[in-house]
């Protein structure tokens, strides 16, 4: 009888360990743990150019992740890109004149949305829109401007 029990215990432990590993992969390695961490409210931000920003990119405030990019689409009316930001509900004290910009982590890193809080008394809530934004830096534009500036200097 004890042999049977031992077998059952070992197989049980095997299955449990396998599921623990799957759970670990889901919660600790992938974005499943961060996606569903509580409720969030949605805020829109319009950008002239979103560069390489992708859905699920983090939204940070003072370096702390406060949300995720939920959706990105093109608004044909004003020729701008709209990023829908999901801000976690616990960060409900963000002024509504906050400034959103698209930043790059490191030289080659991924792009994310950085928020700079303003001084307004009213706070962002579900459906608000961030008015002031700064587009992503597109390397070609930067280089182009630099060369144009140099050429101007040379012409003087």
């Amino acid at each position: 009888m004890s042999k049977t029990t031992q077998l059952e215990v070992l197989v049980g432990a095997f299955i449990a360990a396998g599921f623990v590993a799957l759970f670990f992969l889901a919660m600790q390695v992938s974005n499943l743990g961060t996606l569903n961490s509580g409720d969030s409210y949605q805020v829109k931000a319009r950008f002239d150019n979103i560069g390489g920003l992708k859905v699920k990119a983090p939204v940070t405030l003072a370096g702390v992740e406060v949300g995720r990019v939920l959706d990105i689409y093109y608004d044909a009316k004003d020729f701008r890109a709209v990023a829908v930001l999901g801000i976690y509900s616990q960060y409900n004290q963000i002024p509504d004149d906050t400034f959103a910009k698209i930043l790059t982590a490191g030289l080659l890193g991924e792009q994310y949305v950085g928020l700079d809080p303003g001084g307004s008394e009213s706070m962002l809530k579900e459906g608000s829109e961030i008015a002031v934004t700064q587009s992503a830096l597109v390397l070609e534009d930067v280089v182009g401007q630099f060369i144009y500036g140099k050429a101007q200097e040379g012409a003087k």
Partner: protein
């Protein structure tokens, strides 16, 4: 020339016949599932010999593969100043490719060859015939629990492999080479997608589980019942399983991540 054509034809015919027998066997084994559910102990025993006994090699290889990934990844990424993405690199390579594939290869060598040899020996010692004459269907009784155990074990083993690999990479990257602990995990979490990466990896390992176990069982069951035949069956199991896993991996990757 004619001889050459004739032998080509013979090879073609025998392979087609073998493929047909393999499919019939698979079909017959699925038919044994209700009977197996009435005797869960049979499945339990097979989960032990197919799954539990394979854990050790999976755990050791997973940890070391992760450590090597951490080391190599760090050296390459640090050249571009992108050490921060070490966690992403380690986790993505493990979850998408190395976890399912290396687990399947090790599984074929450890569990698949044992399955083929065991079934081949049961055949050559007339145990399978004996069961048949005792009015017990050997395909249902002997083969089905092994098939199910193989299919169930593979994703669990692959998940363990990936998890230990992620920790192996963490140990080298964060513990030895000084990558920031928080960065390692946060970058990983932001880049690895639950559905696209984890679920697809699990699907891959399920497919590999079906294929590897099927090949092992078929080779054992279809072998020539002599000691030479059994040894050929084990060799074939490992070779065919490895080729099938690598080939299928390409196809599955192309389908999933295109």
């Amino acid at each position: 020339m004619i001889d050459w054509l004739a032998s080509l034809g013979r090879v073609g015919l025998t392979s087609a016949a073998r493929l047909g027998r393999a499919n019939l066997l698979m079909f017959a084994m699925w038919g044994g599932i209700p009977a197996m559910l009435r005797r869960p102990r049979l499945l339990l025993e097979q989960l032990y010999s197919v799954g539990v006994l394979t854990i050790l090699i999976i755990a050791v290889s997973g940890t070391f593969v992760g450590m090597v990934l951490g080391l190599q990844g760090y050296y390459i990424l640090s050249r571009f100043g992108a050490e921060a993405t070490l966690g992403v690199m380690v986790a993505a390579s493990l979850v998408r490719e190395l976890g399912p594939v290396v687990t399947a290869l090790l599984f074929a060598g450890r569990a698949g060859s044992a399955l083929a040899a065991e079934i081949g020996l049961m055949k050559s010692t007339e145990q399978l015939s004996g069961l048949e004459m005792m009015a017990v269907n050997p395909q249902h009784r002997v083969l089905t629990p092994r098939l199910v155990a193989g299919i169930l074990s593979m994703p669990l083993l692959a998940a363990m492999f990936s998890m230990l690999g992620v920790y192996g990479g963490w140990f080298v990257g964060v513990g030895l080479l000084g990558v920031d602990d928080g960065t390692y995990w946060v970058q990983m979490q932001s880049q690895i997608d639950w559905h696209e990466d984890i679920i697809n990896g699990v699907i891959k390992s399920l497919v590999f589980g079906v294929v590897c176990t099927w090949i092992a069982i078929f080779q054992g069951y279809d072998c020539v019942p002599t000691s030479e035949g059994v040894s050929r069956a084990t060799t074939r199991t490992v070779v065919h399983s490895s080729l099938a896993v690598l080939g299928l991996d390409f196809v599955l990757t192309a389908l999933m991540f295109n």
